[in-house]
């Protein structure tokens, strides 16, 4: 077996109060796809940032091509032949494909003037090697997410990368795009590139990788050969316990109608949306990204202004609310993007928790810190949030713990309707399961729950009733026996297959 091209040994990295990486050792061989898995906060991202030169380890060695090396910054990593493909792509949308591929290393002549001809020629060669359908002059902003990812991967050809690290590369790809990505990765593999593949998705890991290394709480739990293990064993290593029932459907009785929506429309986003949800019921919204699901719930919550439509809240017709009015009615919206929409990252957990309900934590507009602290303590325990205290900025917490604060801030006011928009996106199986259980508990306590998800097993697993959405329209409603994957796919694909002229 080939010697490793890259070896990490005993890498330790600490942040104030946290050991992010604890003597982590890991290697990747030429022509190998090595999966790196672990729950959120396990240390995967930190490890990758060490490799890319964004963080400097406190202890340990990086051995590359047999030599100990120090990686000072991402450009240095790239010049050495170590390339990180970010989860959030790091391209400049206004620049061309060629300019992006060589970003930071543009060829220049003696006077420092950009050598456009060489830039284009080299970029074209890299794109050809990858079999890309777009050209070096295309503006990156006009390409699809999958194509943009190819631009990043094309850097591996341009810089003759020996090691390419993929961080959750399929998070926003369709199935076809995913297959193309896998073909590309196998191509790199044949060139003898060592590949590190970070993902939560077990099916991808077992389809693609040769070895799997599991991280937990900053420590390596073990490295196994993919052929000799299975998803259950890997999951057990990740969370240190066996997963029981993956989905837990609420065993609740439906009572009074909480919300009825009729003919809700917003030009260019969605049209004529009508549905209702009852106490104790979990209503699922299924659809592809861009189907208009988030836009509908943001409109219900008053973030967007509807053109038409009526709302009935607990039987009485109400005007479309502002966010403040929606919250006061008893609506809660756990938004799609926790960092952009859910949390004020530089604030502590306590201030984030009480943010939507400031008036009820104040006496004559003066904040009651004792009351705030009591709520913080209550939800820190109830949701077992790992934080050092009420003031610790949530930016320093792991994704799972951040999401728990988003839940805390909505649960603490005792809502009547809670809307969860992609509540488990990008989080690990352990936390996923905890959120599914929480959804069931909320419904059993008599809340009306709306869950939006693009993951079919999830939406079928947690909901009592599912609405399918495509291109801003409701295209199907399924209950009981009718709730099957085939029916959902049929409803959505039927609509998408219709001629666009309609």
């Amino acid at each position: 077996m080939a010697d490793p091209i890259l070896t990490l040994s005993g890498i330790t990295k600490t942040f104030p109060g946290v050991i992010a990486l604890d003597k982590v050792s890991f290697d990747v061989r030429p022509g190998e796809v090595h999966a790196l898995v672990g729950e959120n906060g396990a240390g995967k991202s930190t490890l990758m940032k060490v490799l890319a030169g964004l963080y400097h380890p406190d202890a340990g060695a990086i051995i590359y091509q047999g030599q100990p090396v120090q990686i000072d910054n991402p450009l240095a990593a790239r010049e050495k032949g170590i390339l990180l493909i970010h989860q959030e792509l790091s391209l400049s949308p206004e620049l061309s494909v060629a300019e992006n591929i060589y970003l930071g290393a543009w060829p220049t002549n003696a006077l420092g003037v950009l050598n456009k001809r060489k830039l284009r020629r080299d970029a074209q060669a890299a794109l050809d090697a990858m079999g890309c359908s777009f050209g070096p002059d295309d503006r990156v902003g006009t390409l699809s997410v999958a194509m943009q990812q190819m631009v990043e991967i094309a850097r591996s050809q341009a810089f003759s990368a020996n090691v390419v690290i993929f961080d959750e590369p399929t998070a926003s790809l369709t199935d076809t795009e995913k297959d193309q990505l896998f073909t590309t990765i196998r191509g790199l593999q044949r060139q003898g590139v060592g590949i590190v593949y970070i993902s939560h998705k077990m099916d991808e890991i077992f389809e693609l990788t040769d070895r799997i290394t599991v991280l937990r709480d900053g420590q390596v739990q073990g490295t196994v050969t993919t052929k000799e293990t299975d998803a259950t064993a890997v999951t057990r290593m990740m969370i240190g316990r066996t997963l029981e029932a993956y989905f837990h459907k609420a065993d609740s009785t439906f009572r009074d109608e909480v919300l009825r929506v009729e003919g809700l429309s917003l030009k260019g986003q969605f049209g004529d949306v009508s549905f209702s949800v009852r106490q104790g019921e979990v209503l699922g919204f299924y659809g592809l990204v861009g189907a208009g699901r988030s836009e509908v719930v943001e409109t219900l919550f008053g973030i967007r202004k509807a053109d038409r439509g009526t709302l009935r809240w607990q039987g009485a017709e109400i005007p479309l609310p502002t966010p403040r009015q929606a919250i006061d009615l008893g609506m809660a919206l756990v938004p799609e993007s926790r960092k952009e929409q859910g949390l004020v990252l530089m604030m502590g957990g306590m201030e984030n928790t009480t943010l939507p309900h400031l008036a009820s934590y104040a006496r004559r507009t003066v904040m009651d810190r004792g009351k705030e602290r009591a709520t913080f303590d209550e939800y820190k325990d109830a949701l077992s949030i790992k934080t050092t205290g009420p003031e610790q900025p949530v930016s320093t917490l792991s994704g799972g713990n951040q999401q728990k604060f988003v839940l805390a801030k909505w649960l603490c006011a005792g809502p009547k309707l809670i809307i969860l928009d992609e509540p488990t996106r990008g989080i690990d199986v352990g936390s996923k399961s905890a959120i599914h259980t929480l959804i069931a508990n909320l419904a059993e306590r008599g809340l009306a729950v709306i869950v939006i998800s693009s993951e079919m097993p999830e939406v079928l697993g947690v909901s009592h009733r599912v609405l399918a959405m495509a291109e801003g329209r409701l295209v199907g409603e399924f209950e009981g026996e009718e709730m099957t994957e085939e029916n959902l796919i049929d409803a959505v694909s039927h609509h998408l297959a219709r001629p666009a002229a309609e």
């Binding site: 919550f301 973030i303 502002t322 966010p323 403040r324 929606a326 919250i327 006061d328 919206l333 938004p335 952009e340 929409q341 859910g342 949390l343 004020v344 990252l345 530089m346 604030m347 201030e351 943010l355 939507p356 400031l358 008036a359 104040a362 507009t365 003066v366 904040m367 801030k409």
Partner: protein, 317 residues
């Protein structure tokens, strides 16, 4: 040990440097650390200080207010002129109302309409300078009964040996700190500056939060104008020129981030006071007065640089 020294310098380096400066000036200029000189400095910083307290709210929402310099000019002209026609009490009321009014106007454009804060307040700076000349007709105004009016209290008198303007600065700062740290509005200011989108998703009317921050900035500038009018007992058409930069320098020097979401009133008080002592020290050391502009530049760059260094963990890029 070395890392501890570095960490200390990063966190308290500015204060430590200021301490060194104080000591070295005190050693070479006997007059520097006398009660008389200290009170003079406090009297001087009270005007920019009161303004900076209001501007701090605007900066924490992630915005700027560059109009305060010419607003100070306009309001000082108003308070002095109205003192002659309507009497001191009425003059003060009119000035406060005008200050809040201009602040609200900025607030409407930046907060409610959503225009760029830099452009709106820079344009307002120019507009108000023009308005001053309209109002005054180009001539300077003076308080006619300067020796007898009780209006002199705000800028010229002492209370228990402490200059009244310094006391006004202190009281303004204490009230503002309470509002910022303990009230619903203060929490909203931090939330909007920290993440405006998340604030809207939390039901906070972020546009109105910004609006009220600008209104506060107008109010504190009006208070400063009362002190200024009382101290000078007159107003030239350029009396507040350049104050917007001194105020901003004080806020930044204190460590309130221009990116919004963090900062505090006591930091602003500290920043403005430090700036005052630095300028005063340089004068006592015999430097010509215009050197203070150069030093203000150096201090701003240094403060922003150290702030950035603390965020990314090292001083050089």
């Amino acid at each position: 040990m070395q890392t501890e020294v570095k960490a200390f310098l990063r966190r308290h380096g500015l204060l430590a440097g200021f301490g060194l400066f104080l000591i070295s000036v005190a050693l070479s200029a006997d007059a520097f650390l006398t009660p008389g000189n200290i009170f003079d400095v406090l009297r001087q910083v009270s005007i920019t200080g009161v303004m900076a307290v209001g501007v701090t709210f605007v900066v924490i929402t992630g915005r700027l207010d560059l109009s305060v310099g010419s607003l100070l000019t306009l309001l000082t002209v108003i308070v002095v002129d109205q003192h002659n026609t309507s009497g001191p009490a009425m003059a003060i009321l009119i000035t406060l109302a005008a200050g809040i009014g201009v602040g609200m106007f900025n607030g409407v454009l930046v907060g409610l309409v959503g225009l760029n804060a830099l452009i709106v307040t820079l344009a307002m700076l120019s507009f108000l300078q023009g308005l001053v000349l309209f109002y005054s007709g180009g001539s300077n105004v003076n308080v006619q009964n300067a020796q007898t009016t009780w209006f002199a209290v705000f800028g010229r008198h002492d209370l228990l040996g402490v200059p009244v303007p310094a006391l006004i600065f202190l009281v303004t700062a204490v009230i503002a700190a309470f509002v910022l740290n303990r009230t619903v509005f203060g929490r909203q200011v931090f939330a909007v500056g920290g993440n405006e989108t998340a604030s809207r998703f939390s039901g906070i009317a972020s546009r109105w939060t910004v609006f009220w921050a600008y209104a506060l900035s107008g109010l504190t500038t009006a208070i400063a104008a009362v002190i200024m009018g009382s101290r000078v007992m007159g107003a030239q058409n350029t009396i507040g020129q350049g104050y917007e930069l001194t105020v901003l320098a004080g806020v930044i020097l204190g460590g309130t981030s221009l990116l919004g979401g963090s900062g505090s009133i006591w930091r602003t008080v500290l920043g403005i006071t430090m700036l005052g002592f630095i300028q005063n020290g340089l004068l006592l050391l015999g430097f010509p007065y215009y050197v203070q502009w150069l030093v203000t530049w150096a201090v701003i760059i240094l403060a922003v640089w150290i702030d950035l260094g603390a965020k990314r963990g090292r001083i050089l890029a």
